[in-house]
């Protein structure tokens, strides 16, 4: 059945070359853990992406219940975690995944660093990777505020103070992030918008560039 549907579409749109281009390429021996077990270090980039997919999916589902408003934010998180079926699991995936994605990304960065994969001609991909790192940190920072509990409030208080210590621009950055004079209602909606629209948009664009470059240039050679 599936084969027939696929063939029907393929006859009309010739999609085989497209997915071949994306998915069908040889894995070099030095990055294949079946040949050298130590090659598992090459998995961390893929794992980062896998967890990012989980983050996007679980985040989409969480917004079905979450509301970014200082009166209701905590109540809605409490409701979705304790009253909705599997709420603990879905929020747990997003909560733990947020830390895990940073860990995986860090390990991926170490691998790229110690195999020297950032060297020419792959410098641009390193730069894009570092930008992805910053966007991920931004996602972690903005997401931390959303439950609107004490930890969230004071973490943001501290985070914004740090941002405010930037020379010359600090005050502007602080007001931009806070959306006002205090960490409050306007900060919460702002962080929500950044967390679910702006930063994920930037992340997907950067990931597209990251993947395009690695397919174009190929994995770096053996040590």
């Amino acid at each position: 059945m599936f084969k027939n549907v696929y063939n029907w579409i393929d006859e009309r749109l010739d999609i085989t070359p497209m997915w071949r281009d994306v998915a069908d390429h040889e894995v070099p021996e030095h990055v294949n853990p079946a040949h050298h077990f130590s090659a598992f270090v090459y998995c961390f980039g893929g794992l980062t992406f896998f967890i990012t997919v989980i983050q996007i999916l679980s985040g989409m589902f969480l917004t079905m219940y979450y509301v970014p408003d200082i009166i209701n934010a905590y109540a809605s998180v409490d409701y979705l975690q304790h009253k909705v079926a599997f709420g603990v699991i879905v929020r747990g995936m997003h909560h733990w995944g947020a830390s895990l994605v940073i860990v995986m990304m860090f390990l991926h960065t170490l691998r790229v660093f110690f195999t020297g994969s950032y060297k020419a001609p792959r410098e641009m991909n390193w730069v894009v990777g570092v930008l992805i790192f910053f966007v991920m940190l931004g996602l972690g920072f903005t997401g931390y505020l959303l439950p609107w509990d004490n930890k969230a409030y004071f973490a943001t208080q501290v985070g914004i103070k740090i941002a405010a210590s930037v020379p010359y621009l600090g005050d502007y950055i602080k007001t931009f992030l806070q959306g006002g004079e205090i960490v409050g209602a306007q900060t919460l909606t702002r962080f929500f918008a950044l967390h679910v629209f702006f930063l994920p948009g930037a992340l997907l664009a950067l990931l597209a560039g990251h993947f395009f470059m690695i397919r174009k240039q190929g994995i770096s050679g053996p040590l």
């Binding site: 989980i54 999916l57 079905m64 809605s76 009253k83 909705v84 079926a85 599997f86 699991i89 879905v90």
Partner: protein, 182 residues
């Protein structure tokens, strides 16, 4: 399952040995596909169950609410407001509902909900001089008899509240389809 014919046996004119066995490639793709599907399901099932939770919640039945003294109800329908405690996810409030309560010829009290069955606007008793002694909807001109029978536009009669009289007070309860109109 693919079938492999033993080529050598055929050449020697013997009965070909037919083996029904799975190729290595097929075994691997089934195993990998199965494992992937299992992990994917482990990820998606909690999320989907999370999303459809409201559909699977049991329906709550409305409590009885004291509305008015029974003595105040006449043959002419009158509007009464009453408050119902409402739990809406993480938000709880006392929502104000409206019932038009009247006494029929046999002296039975009945309460109708003024939500028009056409598209949900609010109807009023005797609101249009063209339709005297009727409920009239301002949106698309639906009108109903005193029993809530739909005369034009609306596809169904007005909904009716369960009603009981206790110690001289009228209580309304669960809202349901109209029982006065056949």
């Amino acid at each position: 399952m693919s079938e492999h014919n033993n080529q050598d046996a055929q050449h020697q004119g013997e009965k070909p040995v037919k083996r029904r066995e799975m190729s290595r490639r097929q075994f691997l793709s089934y195993t990998l596909g199965g494992a992937t599907a299992f992990m994917g399901a482990g990820m998606l099932v909690p999320m989907v169950r999370f999303a459809v939770d409201p559909v699977l919640q049991p329906k709550t039945k409305a409590d009885w609410v004291k509305v008015v003294e029974a003595g105040q109800i006449t043959d002419e329908p009158k509007s009464f407001k009453f408050k119902v405690h409402q739990v809406d996810g993480w938000y709880e409030n006392d929502a104000e509902l409206e019932a038009w309560i009247a006494k029929d010829k046999d002296g039975n009290l009945f309460a109708l909900n003024p939500t028009c069955k056409h598209l949900g606007c609010t109807v009023n008793w005797n609101a249009n001089p063209e339709y005297k002694e009727q409920y009239f909807c301002p949106c698309h001109g639906a009108h109903y008899t005193i029993d809530g029978k739909n005369l034009a536009v609306a596809p169904a009669p007005l909904d009716q509240y369960d009603l009981k009289v206790e110690n001289g007070f009228v209580y309304v309860g669960q809202l349901g389809p109209n029982k006065r109109v056949k």
